[in-house]
């Protein structure tokens, strides 16, 4: 089990690296009109919004496919407040970590 998990991670690392390189390199090869369709451009700006938001939700409220309510939610709420107060990215991440760690240690 340990071995297969390790292999999966290596596949993830190498696979993502190859995929990203091909995506980048293809930009230097394909004719421009190919990807400048307004609908494509619109969808392209929306995809990161959907995926990143989904990741926020899954990372905050689930553990291995199960709903779990714990200290992470408090951390992310604090991050949300920090963002609303226009705090820099680093403050946002650190404030979430500190909040979550404090609650974890008190429990």
């Amino acid at each position: 089990m340990e071995g297969t998990l390790m292999n999966a991670m290596w596949i993830g690392v190498i696979g993502a690296s190859i995929a990203l390189f091909l995506l980048r390199y293809s930009g230097y090869l394909v004719p421009e009109k190919f990807l400048t369709n307004p609908r494509m451009l619109r969808i392209n700006t929306l995809i990161p919004i959907a995926l990143l938001s989904a990741l926020v939700g899954v990372q905050t409220l689930t553990v291995k496919g199960k709903w779990v309510l714990d200290q992470r939610l408090a951390g992310v709420i604090v991050a949300l407040i920090a963002l609303r107060l226009k705090a820099p990215y680093f403050v946002v991440v650190i404030s979430a970590a500190v909040t979550s760690a404090v609650i974890y240690r008190i429990k």
Binding site: F21, G27, N44, I49
Partner: protein, 222 residues
Amino acid sequence: MSRVNRATASQSLSVSFAVGLYGIAFGAAGIAAGFSILQTCLLSLLTFSGASQFAVVGVMGAGGSALSGIATASLLGIRNTLYGLRMAPILKVKGWKKVVAAQITIDESTGVAIGQEDLGLDAMKQGFWLTGFGVYVLWNFFTVIGSLGAEAMGNPSAWGLDAAVPAAFLGLVWPRLLGKFERTLAVTALVIAILLSPYIEAGLPIILTALLAVFFGWKERS
């Protein structure tokens, strides 16, 4: 290429430092998700795209398959293709230089290059190369620091790393939520992914929200 423009150089450097520092957060996230130091550092060296790297460790750390991780990273990385399209006529690179240019084609190098438009083509090229290499070196340096630090800390939860990862994603998506339309998409995607999580393989709930983005983007907004 002519002499380096001072304004372009200073902008490239400040962007490189600001962005490179986040490498600490990624390094820590990689370890927290169960990746080794070597794997975490290779993601920064080879994948070299913040959101995509976070996606690989985020999806696989939550139990998703390698394929889900790669697919999510790729969907997040499509914008780099568009940056390449934009930069190709400006850089006019050939052979191995094209390979190097592709590898450092990211949000920041493209952004700084386009920001130099008023200063001319040479400044745009300088902005691209300086920012691309600057972020590359610093991002990788700080990934090493972050992963070593997290490895030394041990239990990720005790140090709040379990909340730092979603907070990092939140910080990445926040500047993109420009209006009500974007915020509606974000909240819908977040809720759907959480609701689907217990029922389908980890990673899939995230990838499926890309369809939601297609649905939202299909019709032109008035």
